[in-house]
């Protein structure tokens, strides 16, 4: 079998039929400014894109180097190796001189990688550790001809060091000759240094000798080093000629920018001669010095930008369409600049960008792409429009259908509304997003002011649905005649059709998600938009899951809490919450990375290669940025059940919590889990937990910056961290009360409530009414930890949650 390396997807022979094996060199923090800047910005996705581009341009193997002063090389490199392992077909070359980094990467890389590199600089310490790892994980290794004296300059020295390395790697550590790729490290012939005039000759000779004297071994070379110090255009030609010569000498692999290699046939004969003269240090007749001749020859050849054929063969309009599809913002300015020479900005938007977004929306509708990718496409659209706007007349674009968006009075949730904004505005509609907690009066006023063609109202809570219903008559009386779109978790088609539609004269339309909103706006334009109808006969009535046994044990012991009354806790380490984060709900639900039609393997690759690294990155950023500030107000209070209410004694007063009861069997009610006065009374726990206001600030910042994808990710993350804090604190309270003493071991344990007792969140299915916040705030006093209530009893910051804690063994989740 021929020596080869492999990625997760394919094996690649190290000795290509048409040599050399091309190793992409751009994903290198030291060698590429662009890559370095992306890395410094923690933009791992863009770093992966740099690797992908090289693959697209013909690289067989991708070199990956993240070593850069001030960065955590181990974290960067392992993150990128994991990402690249899933994303790249090409095998990786792990470029590091730190043994710990190499070991970590080899451990997690799912194919056969190449390690770059070993040498004898330290007299033989690191090489042994790396060879051991390479043997263990079956990697190939690049060996540099460097020893304690530095880089070998002559062929004899290069070969001597290669032999010494071979002795260690093969004789001591059992690597095979074919596992080694010797890099003879050429010096430049472009410096004018007299000692380096024969640098190319020495390198070519060393390649020839290594191939002959160490049979089976391979050779590799960073080709572009030969031309350091010369003009860019001249370098490309010289590099290409040198590569050709090196391959002729036996070179197996080249570390190059594959796109910058010019086929020898396309280099004019006289250019080639000048290069060969320089490489072989041949004296000329008129101008003796080959370097002088080389510089003079190329000085009158201006760089020809057409040579920079990175666009491939596709036309710029196709390219832009594809960039929207791929969520690819790189080179956006260049492509738009080219297009602007031929098209008006408005035509670029209407003829290319909007159709691309429509296509993305259609694919989403068919379940072929996921929401996060739609948002990345929208980012490209948005960035394009921003770049085009300076070239547009004011009047252009005002003909677009205008939509007014708001989250209704008392409701602080804006992710749903903002997703609608993102989708509509990036499909060419003019959106006026007037924020959260907007009273009906303001909505009426703004709708007139901006001449809205449609109004979209959003709200998460049950209370918000009621507000929507109540305001319909107000809109009618104000004389509004434009359609109203309604969206929100508490809404149902039935509620909209029966409670909202009749109160207003124009169509009122239920929209399940942002794309339903888009569809409604498109129907409006087509003149086919109609109000939501609900047919009770054909509608599906949801089941009511729950415990079927209605008998609730009245004899369970009442636990003794460690204290009575209220306490604050502010010294919780945010990192302890991560193990309780419900990653499935986060990835699939909040983020929309659902498996859907994907194969199991493809989905696993998506999760491990893309999603989990994003998640780990968010954890790191959240900790480093201090975005998670867990604070708790909680307590244990004497209480008694009275019918459907629990009467709580706190601060010398009685507070009544009235709970709803199921309307059908088994007629559960939270109050049933507490003892009556006659039964001796009981103890109720309560908590309000928050992760503080920083997450809201960060998410708002991302939204403002049109970083839609990150916005979705961080918002979902913040919601799940908040829930993890509630789960964590519930565990603390169970422990303090000594009930079962079990902490949910992980998020899954928490989902299935494999512990004694239950926490019932206010605003959730067992207790949807937020009015309970009134008595709760009276004695938990969470204002002191920065939590306030809106006029309809929602807590601010958004990343806050509250609950009553029941210790009864039969207490489990249910819905009224």
């Amino acid at each position: 079998m021929k020596p080869s390396v492999a990625s997760l997807y394919q094996a690649v022979e190290l000795q290509q039929e048409i040599p050399p094996l091309l190793i992409g060199e751009r994903a290198n923090a030291n060698g590429s400014k662009k890559f370095r800047e992306l890395l410094l910005a923690d933009d791992y996705q863009a770093c992966v894109k740099v690797a992908l581009e090289q693959e697209a341009r013909g690289a067989h193997v991708i070199d990956l180097c993240t070593a850069y002063a001030g960065r955590d090389e181990l974290a960067d490199l392992t993150t990128l190796v994991r990402l690249c392992a899933g994303a790249l077909k090409a095998p990786l070359m792990i470029d590091s001189t730190t043994p710990a980094c190499i070991e970590a990467c080899l451990r997690l890389y799912p194919g056969r990688a190449i390690v770059n590199s070993i040498n004898l600089e330290d007299g033989g310490v690191n090489i042994r550790r790396i060879c051991r790892a390479a043997k263990k994980y079956g990697a190939a290794v690049v060996a540099l001809t460097i020893d304690e004296k530095g880089m070998a300059m002559t062929a004899a020295e290069k070969v001597r060091i290669a032999r010494a390395i071979h002795a260690i790697a093969v004789d001591e550590y059992g690597l095979r000759s074919r596992d080694l790729l010797f890099d003879c490290l050429t010096f430049t012939v472009g410096s004018g240094d007299a000692n380096l005039r024969d640098a190319a000759v020495q390198t070519l000779e060393a390649i020839r000798r290594i191939k002959a004297e160490l049979p089976g071994c391979l050779t590799v070379l960073g080709v572009s080093n030969i031309s350091f110090g010369l003009a860019p255009q001249a370098r490309r030609i010289l590099n290409s000629v040198f590569l050709h010569e090196a391959v002729a000498a036996g070179l197996d692999a080249a570390i190059v920018d594959a796109a910058k290699i010019v086929p020898l046939a396309r280099i004019p004969a006289e250019d080639r001669e000048v290069c060969l003269d320089l490489l072989y240090n041949r004296q000329g007749e008129e101008v003796k010095d080959p370097l002088m001749r080389f510089i003079a020859h190329f000085s009158d050849k201006a760089a020809t930008p057409a040579e920079d054929g990175q666009e491939g063969d596709s036309k710029p309009e196709e390219q832009l369409f594809q960039m929207v599809m791929d969520g690819d913002k790189e080179q956006l300015e260049d492509v738009l600049a080219i297009l602007r020479q031929r098209f008006r900005p408005i035509d670029i938007i209407n003829q290319i960008l909007v159709p691309a977004m429509r296509h993305v929306g259609e694919l989403f509708g068919k379940g072929e792409i996921l929401l996060p990718f739609v948002l990345q496409s929208a980012e490209v659209m948005k960035a394009s429009v921003t770049l085009l706007e300076p070239f547009m007349d004011k009047a252009e674009g005002t003909a677009a259908t205008t939509v007014l968006l708001a989250t209704v009075q008392g409701d602080v949730h804006d992710i749903g509304k903002n997703l609608v904004d993102i989708i509509l505005s990036n499909n060419g509609y003019l959106v006026h997003n007037i924020g959260i907690k907007v009273p009906a009066e303001t909505i009426i006023e703004k709708a007139r002011e901006v001449r809205a063609d449609l109004i979209g109202l959003s709200g998460l809570l049950v209370k918000s649905a009621i507000i929507m219903q109540e305001s319909m008559a107000q809109y009618r009386e104000a004389g509004l005649t434009v359609p109203i779109l309604l969206g929100g978790a508490a809404l149902t088609p039935k509620f909209v059709a029966e409670s909202c539609v009749p109160q207003y004269d124009a169509p009122v339309v239920y929209c399940a998600d942002a794309f339903a909103g888009l569809k409604a706006v498109q129907e409006f334009e087509a003149g086919t938009l109609t109000a939501t109808v609900y047919d009770g006969a054909t509608a599906v009535k949801a089941m009511k899951p729950g415990i079927r046994v209605a008998e609730i044990d009245r004899t369970n012991p009442v636990p003794v809490p460690p204290f009575l009354g209220q306490r604050y806790v502010e010294d919780i380490d945010p990192a302890v919450l991560f193990s309780l984060i419900n990653v499935e709900a986060l990835f699939r639900g909040r983020w929309g990375y659902r498996r859907g039609k994907m194969g199991a393997g493809e989905y696993a690759d998506l999760i491990e290669g893309t999603v989990r690294p994003l998640y780990e990155e968010l954890q790191r950023k959240a900790l480093a940025g201090g975005w998670i500030q867990p604070r708790v107000s909680y307590g244990y209070f004497p209480c008694r059940a009275e019918g459907d209410a629990v009467i709580v004694q706190a601060d010398g007063a009685e507070h009544r919590f009235s709970f709803p009861r199921q309307a059908e069997a088994p007629f559960l009610c939270i109050a049933d889990y507490f003892k009556t006065a006659g039964e001796g009374g009981d103890i109720a726990g309560f908590f309000v937990v928050t992760i503080g206001p920083k997450m809201s600030e960060e998410t708002a910042r991302l939204y403002q910056a049109d970083a839609y994808h990150e916005y979705l990710l961080l918002h979902g993350f913040s919601v799940e961290v908040t829930d993890a804090l509630a789960e964590y604190w519930h565990g603390v309270m169970r422990r303090e009360m000594g009930v079962g003493g079990t902490q949910a071991q992980n998020a899954l344990g928490a989902v299935t409530q494999n512990y004694q007792g239950s926490r019932y969140g206010f605003g959730y299915p067992a207790c949807p009414d937020l009015e309970a916040h009134k008595p709760l705030f009276a004695f938990l006093k969470p204002e002191a930890i920065g939590i306030t209530l809106t006029e309809n009893m929602q807590m601010v910051p958004e990343q806050t949650t509250s609950a009553i804690v029941a210790h009864h063994p039969q207490a489990k989740y249910f819905a009224v």
């Binding site: 949801a542 899951p545 079927r548 499935e584 299935t752």
Partner: protein, 57 residues
């Protein structure tokens, strides 16, 4: 088509429907494939509808 005994996960809360176990909370006996669950079936933990379920692995 869907292979037999495929488990589904609730994208909202993470609950896993395992046909080998069924769903006692909704009176679903063991042996019922996810696809065979009635349309009105909801997640026993968070009441999410069937569309919000995703094939697990």
């Amino acid at each position: 088509m869907t292979p037999a005994k495929e488990r589904y996960i609730c994208a909202n809360c993470g609950y896993i429907y395992d046909p080998a176990v069924g769903d006692p909370m909704n009176a679903i006996p063991p042996g019922v494939e996810f696809a065979e669950l009635p349309d009105e079936w909801v997640c026993p933990m968070c009441y999410a509808t069937k569309e919000q379920f995703d094939p697990l692995d």
